[in-house]
Subunit: 271 residues, 2 copies
């Protein structure tokens, strides 16, 4: 399966800035560490047609994975699975297993089913419910051959429990064998506009499709420049460790020649 | 001009989760408070073609405003303005005023121009540079008649300085007269799946195109339910204050009838 992945983080409260989108960062990180290549994260308001349009657009690229968060609950604006169903030209149907999950949750609390509670058991036709150990709304795993669409709730602790307990173990089987290597280091004394030429040169010299170098300016470009460098490579067929080690060595050599000083040595952790 | 707005937060580090996207929340909030309706936030990797495609798609909706962040710096992957130029079918040209801004920054630090520094003065044809009081890369203000495209750096303190000092005062003139009213309150004892029917009922009863009600579950749906309610209305022609006040009153009445207790009274602040 193709390693291209997309994330949809849905909900008015994400788009209008009432909350900071930590789900996007969490999923982006987990997917990258699994060796998937996340191309984008799309946050949209709770509008079924709009979500359907963007899903269709992204699905036309035939990515290996699409993850959606938000819009699975019992309220009037929780309509993500309707959009997933529409975008994949199938119905939204009552799923017996999902209904059993929902019913058990409420019954064990002495509560019965209502239309709003039953609503959470409607999944796109052919989807499998993902158990929710924390809340009540099941997730949805829809396999389309080339693409898997995983839909999870937006509440972070539900999302994380379902991701780590169910989704990620399955994805490891679907996308095996990739190794991601990362290094962070910090250099003072070289403005980013001077480092830019060095980075270009090193990328060309070391080669490697998956090699990625990024400088993050932390100080003042024209005062006391501080640059945090991030170097990574992730591959099944290249040697990511070798690529990263060589790139870091070449970068540091050239940055020192420009008067740079390494104040934080290459490390596998950002800080 | 139409009040539909879109945000593009660009950069590999946003998409792969190395950073949490606080820029999206900041801009979403500022735009909402200005009375614009943000429809979505799109984060993409640094791929000119991909960014161009999504910009084209969004521009075809003829929104009033598109804001991009990231990709204005001196490095090889800073290519946002190239994508803006492509998506609007114009060239990327050396802007004399932008060049003057960039040159002054470096000259005042005793540094000359290099190709990487000069690169930051290339703007889409017809764009106006936005001064950057904190860093070196100017922003870009491109007015297309129906749509304004504002491009700003991704470094948060540069983004904020340019937004508050230059962009927002201009937007206030372009989009005058909207008033946003918001209330937050907290209710314990009612599960979200029961509140869902109440919310639907109140939305219908009170009416108003811009009225928006959202419950955020904080406790346990089947254990000790806690719901944070958010009610807002934002309009030039409706009475947003009246809509919100009535909706809050009707909600609380009904939630109390279901055994709910208001533990945080309606307030203009989330906490």
């Amino acid at each position: 399966m193709r390693r291209e992945a997309w994330i949809f983080t849905l909900g008015n409260e994400v788009v209008d800035g009432r909350i900071v989108n930590t789900n996007a960062a969490y999923l982006g990180r987990r997917l990258t560490l699994l060796g998937l290549e996340v191309f984008g994260n799309i946050s949209l308001i709770d509008d079924v047609d709009l979500v359907t349009q963007f899903l269709r657009y992204v699905l036309s690229r035939r990515p290996g994975l699409v993850v959606t968060t938000g819009g699975l609950g019992p309220t009037y604006d929780d309509r993500t699975l309707e959009a997933v169903a529409k975008a994949t030209n199938r119905g939204l149907v009552l799923n017996e297993e999902a209904l059993r999950m929902v019913r058990e949750k409420y019954e064990s609390a002495g509560m019965g089913l209502t239309p709003e509670r039953e609503k959470m058991a409607y999944l796109p036709e052919g989807a499998e419910p993902i158990p929710n150990p924390v809340g009540t709304a099941p997730g949805s795993w829809l396999s389309l051959g080339d693409t898997v669409i995983v839909s999870l709730p937006g509440v972070p602790r539900e999302l994380k429990a379902m991701w780590e307990g169910f989704v990620e173990p399955r994805l490891r089987q679907l996308f095996p064998g990739v190794r991601l290597v990362e290094r962070w280091f910090r250099v003072v004394g070289v403005p980013e506009s001077s480092a830019a030429a060095v980075v270009k040169e090193v990328l060309k010299l070391v080669g490697g499709r998956s090699l990625y170098i990024k400088s993050h300016p932390k100080g003042s470009e024209t005062g006391e420049p501080i640059l945090d460098f991030y170097v990574s490579a992730s591959s099944v067929d290249e040697d990511p460790e070798g690529l990263v080690e060589r790139a870091v060595k070449e970068l540091i050599e050239r940055l020192k020649a420009l008067g740079g000083e390494v104040v934080r040595s290459p490390s596998e952790e950002p800080d």
